[in-house]
């Protein structure tokens, strides 16, 4: 059993790392132009954000359109940190957000344990408690962060510029993802109690609210450097193919491992039948929240990576129309298929931005968005279950354990075969 898994893992990592190396070499040699390289990086980012959605929708069955909102939160959070570092040589953004993340995160975990013991606590009451705690601790986090930033500035300034920026960047990406996760926890707590489509609409509302807030980030929220609807510039362009690939691989492995564990089965059981899951001792609310937070964490991660690709962020990128993109990718690839999601995430920008740009003749540039929905339509009509359905590559496939040789002595004790025998009524 373990031998088989090993061979599959070996094959999987061999092929993927080979793919990475080939692409990297092609980039270095110059065969793969920045045009295609950008599309590949975008593909990897879409893969991460869509895998997050696939966790939420494909595996846990929660119809969420809020993924793009968390993507935006991750992007702007991480961008703000690296912006302050590169343009103001200040780590205040980093430390402040770090402490907010840590304090709020700790508070959420502690409160979750405490409130979980209360019998019959309704979601909105719990939400109020969390919200008050989060606000209070965020204020504390700002104060601590500002103090800690001063020594950290000099420490980082002493390091070579490249290394310092990389450290700030990696931390920024992780903090961006964590902030998205924490916001998703607060938002998800009351909203996850809603049924299917209502949940979808509420999350769509979330995406729109985030977009509106970003439009006014410089006036209402007071983040001057985000420049509201003018778009944020000056973000270092440090997300290379290496980084997106690294994070994508981590996400794939985490998703795969999680799904193949008891926790993954609990998550899937919620999708399959909530009531039965409850009756089997699965804390449905807990696993909905867990999956939603994890999916949003991935969205935030993807957003943070994305922010450093073009070095420019604009609220229009986080328009609600775009929030359908990850959903399209997930369904297109095959609901509940990790392979399909990753594949579709790479194909989608390559077709829409790459192929269609190349093959449409001059004068027909406006037809791109006429052809794309048609392709989507034909695809859905031909393969309504997505390109890959439930297919997974061997590494991602759940391996059925071999039957044990030792046959239970009680085996034949269960009356199983319908015995034809008269019984008195």
């Amino acid at each position: 059993m373990f031998k088989r898994i090993d061979r599959n893992s070996l094959l999987f990592f061999g092929v993927t790392i080979g793919f990475f190396v080939v692409v990297q070499v092609l980039i270095l040699v110059g065969v793969l132009t920045p045009f295609y390289e950008t599309l590949l990086r975008l593909g990897a980012v879409y893969a991460i954000v869509s895998l997050g959605l696939n966790m939420i929708y494909g595996f846990n069955g929660q119809f969420s359109l809020g993924q793009w909102g968390f993507y935006a939160i991750g992007a702007y959070t991480a961008a703000d940190i690296t912006f302050r570092w590169t343009n103001q040589a200040s780590t205040a953004g980093l430390t402040v957000l770090l402490f907010i993340v840590l304090l709020v995160g700790a508070a959420i975990l502690i409160l979750y344990k405490l409130l979980g013991r209360l019998r019959g606590l309704d979601a909105l009451s719990a939400f109020t408690v969390y919200l008050l705690a989060a606000f209070g601790l965020a204020v504390v986090g700002v104060k601590i962060g500002q103090v800690v930033a001063i020594p950290l500035n000099s420490v980082l300034a002493a390091l070579p510029a490249g290394i310092a920026t990389t450290i700030v960047y990696v931390l920024a990406v992780i903090i961006g993802a964590l902030i998205a996760a924490e916001v998703s926890f607060l938002f998800g707590l009351p909203v996850l109690t809603l049924g299917s489509d209502y949940f979808g609409i509420a999350t769509l509302g979330f995406t729109i609210i985030v977009k509106v807030l970003l439009d006014n980030s410089d006036t209402l929220l007071g983040f001057e450097e985000m420049k509201g609807a003018r778009g944020m510039i000056g973000i270092p362009k440090v997300t290379t193919w290496f980084w997106v690939f690294l994070f994508l691989m981590i996400v794939i492995v985490v998703v795969r491992n999680l799904l193949h564990s008891s926790y993954g089965r609990a998550i899937v059981s919620v999708r399959e039948d909530e009531i039965a899951a409850k009756a089997m001792g699965i804390d449905v609310g807990h696993y909905k929240t867990l999956t939603f937070v994890l999916g949003s964490f991935f969205a935030g991660l993807a957003g943070a990576l994305y922010a450093h690709i073009n070095g420019f962020l604009h609220p229009d990128m986080f328009n609600f129309i775009k929030s359908f993109d990850p959903m399209i990718i997930v369904v297109f690839g095959g609901l509940g298929s990790v392979t399909g999601t990753v594949f579709a995430a790479f194909v989608w920008p390559l077709v829409l931005e790459g192929l269609l740009r190349q093959i449409l003749p001059p004068g027909f540039e406006t037809w791109r968005y006429v052809v794309y929905p048609l392709l989507l339509l034909i695809m859905m009509l031909l393969k309504p279950n997505g390109l890959f359905g439930n297919f997974e590559v061997p590494y991602l496939r759940q391996v059925l354990p071999a039957l044990r040789k030792k046959i239970s002595t009680e085996r034949s004790q269960a009356p199983s075969a319908p015995a034809v025998k008269e019984v008195n009524g």
């Binding site: 985490v254 999680l258 564990s261 059981s269 039965a276 089997m280 001792g281 269960a414 015995a419």
Partner: protein
């Protein structure tokens, strides 16, 4: 309530389940009214009554799907009223459903392994990292599940998708899944529904078997009188949300109110019933 003497159970073990004056209102509808019940260890009791009598509502309150409007449910000495269904399950009450509720797209093995989840024995981080602890516990868990399937003669089906199983096997899997969590009390909601006579017989044997094998207390709802009378040691009869009779199968069969409730009452009783219906 005082009409009924306590259950003359053939065993005098500890009390497993004790329900007192349970009431559930849906809007103005009194679905269950002043329902009381006591189960002792090892009991195999039946809950019967015409459609809409409130039997499943009682189950749903015991398992936490509904919160009772009034009344107390004690399970092994602990008050479980108002707990979440998953908490109640983890405390040792398992159930099956009237219309089978498996995890249809998952394998037979996974259906059972999910029931083991609360006792998985490793944390979320172990699950994500697939570390040594995970490997060890997961192997244990899987072997346990396989052994368990073997008990129910389903081990050859472990890779099958649950919804592809024949009906009888689905029922068996559902019971197996419910028992995997090692409950003390099993609630069976019309286990024989939709079964042919042969399957029904086999089911009855299975119920007897699991009670002995797992040292269970069982409460079952059933419409097929053959099953109820065949295996239950003690029966509670409900009609319109209220208990109308209790007793051994023989007593119940002889009880005029039960016969009336089931087999067409006399004209006087009929009119009374209609007036009650209106009032509801």
């Amino acid at each position: 309530m005082s009409d009924f003497t306590p259950a003359p159970s053939n065993n005098t073990h500890e009390e497993i389940l004790h329900i007192e004056e349970l009431t559930k209102l849906f809007g103005g509808l009194r679905a269950v009214n002043n329902f009381s019940l006591t189960l002792h260890r090892g009991d195999l009791n039946g809950l019967i009554g015409p459609n809409g009598a409130g039997k499943t509502t009682v189950f749903n309150m015991i398992t936490g799907v509904y919160t009772p409007t009034n009344g107390v449910i004690n399970f092994m000495g602990q008050n479980i009223t108002g707990l979440e269904p998953y908490q109640i399950n983890q405390m040792g009450i398992a159930r099956t459903f009237q219309n089978i509720r498996l995890f249809p797209k998952l394998t037979v093995l996974d259906n059972v392994r999910i029931a083991y989840h609360p006792h998985a024995g490793y944390g979320l981080m172990d699950g994500i990292l697939h570390n040594g602890r995970f490997q060890q516990k997961e192997t244990e868990l899987t072997e346990k599940a396989q052994d368990f399937l073997a008990v129910f003669n389903l081990q050859d089906r472990q890779g099958e998708i649950a919804s592809n199983l024949p009906y009888g096997e689905q029922r068996r899997l559902e019971i197996a899944r419910a028992l995997a969590a090692e409950p003390r009390l099993l609630l069976l909601d019309e286990p024989a529904a939709g079964m042919n006579p042969a399957e029904t017989v086999s089911l009855m044997e299975l119920i007897h078997f699991i009670r002995e094998r797992f040292n269970l207390t069982i409460l079952l709802i059933e419409h097929q009188m053959r099953v109820v009378m065949g295996i239950c040691e003690y029966i509670t009869v409900m009609d319109f949300g209220e208990v109308i009779a209790r007793g051994t199968p023989a007593e119940i069969q002889a009880n005029p109110r039960v016969v009336e409730a089931y087999l067409g009452p006399g004209s006087a009783a009929l009119s009374e019933k209609f007036s009650r219906k209106k009032a509801l």
